[in-house]
Symmetry: C2
Subunit: 501 residues, 2 copies
């Protein structure tokens, strides 16, 4: 039976070919770039697709770039979309469109599903996902988690069974520490041994990306410091040379660490630091509410000290692909790949605390409203980051689900998201559309700057008296005062100012 892959951005459907052979297109592409080095980027998601663009627009070398992904329902459309001239991501960064246009005009960027592509590669960059499966208990609290490496392993195997014996394989995926040495290297070497290839010429390195979708998407690759390593000096040198061609090293440091375990730990430690710091401040935000003080002004006062500038704000929750799982990847690796008896309790606890955050917002609404289930709610913002249209693991989803389960009717607004895939919801981009029916509760649930603008405040002032819940401390004192002239206003992490505690 024919299978299709649907473009989640515009709904266009592509039939997945029955015979999976893209060799003619590949040979044609290669023949057009006889003197260029070939970079194959494995995975065309939020990192890989953009990394491919950056490689196709390298600073000091002109690469021919092949993006590869799987010919399945989720991914095949991305391959076709790229080759059709439509970049498979909606991005606020205008550089994405610009670099894509540049690559198209040069003709040095092709997408394919055919593993035969690896045989042409001077450099293979691994940018596939590696997920964590979480389980929760009856109270919806993180109780266990596991990592399934099978699809990661098969992706690595597809490289090893096709690539040249002198290729550079550069892993950018966030992996459980130990993966390059204990998983990738053995698979590559087993495949090479089967194929009768030398094990001395290939290069294997790790250098984690710090990609941040949003207005500085491209810059978060090109103009950002990098940490890298290799399984040996040959590999580390090759990674360094390659990174120099795509990163503005006049502005950002390249830091070499002694082995791949070290860079793999660096990545997950980096994200665990953020996740744990958010969890840390969460319990202080509860205390601030009890003590009738404003945690945001406290945090700002403390950040004045350079040693405390990284202190975080609380909020409705932690979202995105990294902070919600990287501490777990690390803890899993410590036990499963290094045989330690204990994982990383504090970092795991950070995820556990953060995963509970949206529930707190829900319970708060239950406390301050009468018969929440009968209320009509407008949710302002479904993305997990301000001014970015990225709903992956958005904490707003949990709040949406809790409100839905309680029978609450909702209208949803987000200027950057038109359809909320994870919740299968239409999202309005016009704020009037979600306010016109006079909601009982308006929740500011994402940090988009439009919600701080005077025009939005004025619109909220025009609706019938309602509960306004700012879950991110976005409103200023003046705006709160203005809104309180008509509405009941609550700010997460900010105690009642009339509270005489």
């Amino acid at each position: 039976m024919a299978k299709f892959s649907k473009n989640s951005l515009n709904g266009k459907s592509y039939r997945i070919p029955d015979v999976l052979d893209d060799s003619v297109a590949l040979e044609d592409f290669i023949s057009q770039h006889p003197s260029k080095k070939i970079v194959v980027v494995q995975g065309l998601g939020f990192v890989g697709a953009v990394m491919a663009l950056v490689c196709a627009n390298a600073f000091t070398e002109e690469y021919a770039v092949i993006g590869i992904d799987l010919p399945n329902e989720n991914s095949y459309w991305k391959i076709r979309s790229i080759n059709d001239g439509v970049f498979p991501l909606v991005a606020e960064d205008p550089n994405i469109a610009h670099l894509f246009e540049q690559a198209r005009s040069r003709g040095n960027f092709l997408a394919t599903y055919d593993e035969v592509a690896y045989k042409y590669a001077d450099v293979v960059i691994v940018d596939i996902n590696l997920d964590v499966q979480k389980s929760t208990d009856a109270n919806d609290v993180l109780s266990d988690f596991s990592v399934d490496l099978s699809s990661f392993k098969s992706a690595i195997k597809s490289i090893g069974s096709n690539c040249r014996e002198d290729a550079l394989i550069l892993v950018e995926t966030t992996v459980p520490p130990g993966t390059c040495k204990k998983i990738v290297q053995p698979i590559i070497e087993a495949e090479f041994t089967k194929r009768g290839l030398s094990l001395r010429k290939y290069k294997l390195g790790h250098s984690y990306e710090r990609v941040m979708p949003g207005p500085d998407y491209i810059s978060s690759i090109r103009n950002f410091p990098r940490v890298y390593s290799g399984i040996n000096d040959l590999s580390a040198d090759a990674v360094e040379l390659f990174l120099h061609t795509i990163i503005d090293t006049s502005r950002c440091n390249l830091t070499r660490l002694s082995n791949t375990n070290a860079t793999e730990i660096a990545k997950v430690l980096e994200n665990s630091y953020r996740a744990t710091n958010i969890a840390f401040v969460v319990e202080w935000s509860r205390f601030a509410e009890e003590a009738g003080v404003d945690l945001y002004s406290i945090v700002n006062a403390i950040r004045d000290r350079p040693t405390h500038a990284n202190l975080m704000f609380p909020g409705i929750g932690v979202g995105g692909y990294c902070l919600t799982k990287d501490p777990l990847l690390a803890s899993w690796a410590r036990k499963s790949l290094f045989g330690a008896k204990s994982g990383l309790a504090m970092s795991v606890n950070g995820v556990l605390v953060n995963d509970q955050m949206p529930k707190y917002a829900y319970q708060f609404l239950q406390r301050v409203t009468y018969e929440l289930n009968t209320k009509r709610v407008s949710l302002l913002g479904v993305s997990y980051r301000g001014d970015v249209g990225d709903t992956r693991f958005s904490p707003v989803q949990k709040l949406f689900e809790l409100l839905s389960a309680a029978g609450v009717k909702m209208t949803l607004h987000d200027p950057y998201v038109s359809f909320w895939e994870e919740c299968e919801q239409k999202i309005y981009s016009d704020i009037d559309a979600v306010l016109k029916d006079n909601p009982d509760i308006v929740i500011i649930s994402a940090g988009h700057s439009i919600y701080k603008q005077e025009c939005t405040i004025n619109k909220i002032l025009k609706i019938k008296p309602a509960v306004i819940y700012d879950t991110l401390g976005l409103l200023t004192d003046d705006q709160i005062e203005l809104l309180m002239s008509k509405h009941s206003v609550y700010v997460l992490g900010r105690g009642d100012l009339d509270n005489d505690n």
Copy 2:
């Protein structure tokens, strides 16, 4: 029976007077400064003694300053010592001696034990200690803690029963959040009511110090941003005016928060952030050892990101007066003063983890040496901070106790400490003295820069083969290699480089 108070710095003993009346000296001092405002600093410890100096050398006003402490064994000698012209602290900061000389030559600094001093005060600054009592379980893990406010309350009462009805009372002590409103204000008002004074004229504020003993002791008061508040606008304005006279506000911000709960929370949140971040990195340092990588180079690589610049190093433990107790003060206050069901679990856990750190170093030595109890150990450094002679709650104490209990013979070195009060130990300042008998184990236990110097490394190279344990990642790669030519070298948080994990 006569009581004495011994100067812990030079052993000089002072007899505590039987009749406690210092009114003549006070009247004499006041009459010498008829037109000056009077500042009384309550508590002559690490903060109060130096705060008094800063006030006696204020930038824009000449105050007459009275330091007051209790006429007991621990404190009476400080009063006498100040009046005898010997500052009661050994400090690396030459500005301390300089400001003390200036104050003496102007004659605007007197110390006393007599509470009558408060009646002269325009400003009373509260700089007394407020301790936490910790309990541990059979495994020496923090199991409970409590706060005893009785001596704090009686200190506040002594102010309220003596001070003028228009005085400014400025609390600098780190207190459980809620203390100014729920403890200090009621005591002052009860005393004023007894005395028939108006309750409208006094000013009560809170502004926490960020004093850092060491080479920048004075600067950590004068040139450091300040957060402050008052119980009302009158109070907050008075605090602001006063702070302007002693702090270089052209270089550092004064940040006003809305009430005293907010600044009290800010202080303990600030320190809890540091304590929790150290605890966070501790478990990663264990993982780093297991994975055969160097956590220090990883942390440095990550700190390259401005958003991660506050990431901490691990080490032998967390010491000092603040980080070891402030998270507990906060958690206690949340439950005891605000009636919350939960404390601040993550912050308390940070203290619990940090308190265990020295034991890890001890257990590590047990693993890597044969019959540890028969070994002779040289401990390099007993202070809790590098290049500072401050042994308050030093983590080295725990390591010392564990080694002592095991029967290990130790010699101790520290360039900044001559006698270790807490452990009643003589400390050598000459490193040759602790190395000359060829110890079996040399532990670098404080981050003094002398231990990184070539001359020290050369001295360690001359002793018989030994175990060298760097508990702070102080040694460079080259130094480690050099030392490994003769010794077995271990670095806490740094895995064995030969480890093929």
